[in-house]
Symmetry: C2
């Protein structure tokens, strides 16, 4: 039982107007799992190098994140370096794939029966290989990005045709569907297979579009954004974590999942790396959830 998250594990170098850090823990699987672990048992699948040290494993252990699916191989862990000049868009300064170049996700047999799966933003070929290994999923979700929409369109469309929930940002859903109107684009994306499209809109919040409903969530109003890295992954992690813990998958649980995703993203951006996500607890999460709901209540 629980949630399986497959994605990147990275060391990040990040510069924002509020400071600079280097070689700090990051990556989609890490951010997403540090958000989902508040709600459900979370297992990550990824690849790291020998520089992924005992303190990192200890951190996962301490946070009750299963890492049986973490492959350790000779070499260095994936490294990404970027700068945010206006906090809305990262400019990549350096990408060193390192051991990630040979990532071939293998899902431990215990994980294959998990009902919830989140495929972080990785090569669609790898996402497909994961889907092939799962036995019993009830809800599968994936994230993607412009790089794959442009470079691996056919494979990505195959992934999208097989999943239930697509996480995607505004520009990307327009690019994916060739539609300029965001509502038309979300509808068109739904016709590619997923029953639910979650459009991430940065500081403007998010939108859920399904056949029979649409739901808009604002962001939690963070006044001290320190580092936006991992916001989308924390959002997806909070969303999938909450959903995995619910008995029912329906409109209400989806809407609540969006709010929890929103809350987890809001914490994530208040510090570099995982600093803030590491210090919060369910009480902090619930307080922000109430606040987000209050801000859309007539």
């Amino acid at each position: 039982m629980g949630l399986v998250i497959v994605g990147s594990i990275a060391f990040d170098g990040v510069k924002t107007p509020y400071g600079e850090v280097d070689k700090v823990l990051g990556g989609s699987a890490i951010y997403a799992s540090m958000a989902s672990k508040h709600f459900c048992k979370t297992h990550i699948v990824g690849i790291v190098g020998e520089d992924f040290s005992k303190c990192h494993f200890d951190m996962l252990q301490k946070n009750n994140i299963g890492y049986e699916g973490l492959e350790v191989v000779p070499g260095k862990t994936f490294y990404w370096k970027g700068v945010y000049n206006d906090l809305n868009r990262a400019e990549t300064l350096d990408t060193q794939l390192n051991v990630f170049a040979n990532f071939d996700p293998r899902i431990p047999s215990d994980y294959r029966k998990c009902e919830y799966l989140f495929l972080g933003n990785i090569d669609p070929d790898l996402q497909l290989r994961v889907l092939d290994q799962m036995d019993n999923t009830k809800i599968t979700a994936c994230d993607t990005m412009n790089f794959w929409i442009e470079g691996k369109r056919e494979k990505l469309l195959e992934v999208i045709s097989k999943i239930d929930i697509l996480f995607i940002n505004d520009d990307e859903v327009k690019m994916l569907t060739g539609e300029n109107n965001i509502f038309v684009a979300a509808e068109a994306a739904g016709k590619l297979g997923p029953q639910l499209i979650i459009v991430k809109r940065g500081e403007y919040g998010s939108m859920a579009a399904a056949k029979d409903f649409i739901f808009f969530a604002p962001v939690y109003p963070v006044k001290n954004v320190i580092d936006p890295t991992g916001a989308g992954d924390s959002f997806a992690g909070g969303f999938m974590g909450y959903l995995s813990a619910q008995k029912n998958y329906n409109k209400t649980s989806i809407k609540n999942a969006i709010i929890y995703g929103t809350v987890m993203a809001s914490f994530s951006i208040e510090s570099f790396s995982l600093d803030k996500l590491r210090e919060i607890d369910l009480k902090n999460i619930e307080a922000r959830k109430e606040s987000v709901i209050k801000n859309i209540k007539i």
Copy 2:
């Protein structure tokens, strides 16, 4: 009683990906009044040339919009021509101020006792002259734009210090306050005087920020945007019109006013000029209002 709207009256030439029109009725006072007239008795104050013909007066009459404050002088009415390449931003091709260059708003004595005033986006000097003439306002609101924030900052700040509600878009509130974070910027704008800041965020909806609450409204999901001209004015008109008709000015009436503003903007952008605003009735408005509320209901 009722609402006084002071602003531009224009003939517009507009080109969008969906077509092209020229010399069609527009301007902030016209769009705002065609939205507010559904809710309350509306009076407009503005200036037009001799090309503002009987059919235009008939249109105002038919829509129960008071035009005693409409000054007709020799010359031509204000003309604006613009093109929207991506529907999000207009590029101005031509501006002919014509009679508008000599606009010196005079508020008819009957209007001076109105409790609600909306100052459309015009020169802050003119906005101040209007404020001086009003005797009995309960709620005054104004709109503005980057042109005045940059070019007439001191006068604009004087206007802002005297009003209750400021309508402004995201970029502009950041420019006005020098703050890059939208929530910090809205708070800083509130410290300039107004008790309520309404931030217009285009396709992402709007935000109301007051000392003791914040409220987010999404847009009504329009799939066939034809012409965004006048969206902000229709929003403000719907907002102020609804508010003027309420007994109480409080959180609830403000939130409902935002939803009605949202609805009026959604109709406005579905046609060139006022075509759509002219054909709708309260039943259409209520249906969309319910829909907007449903889309933020958990």
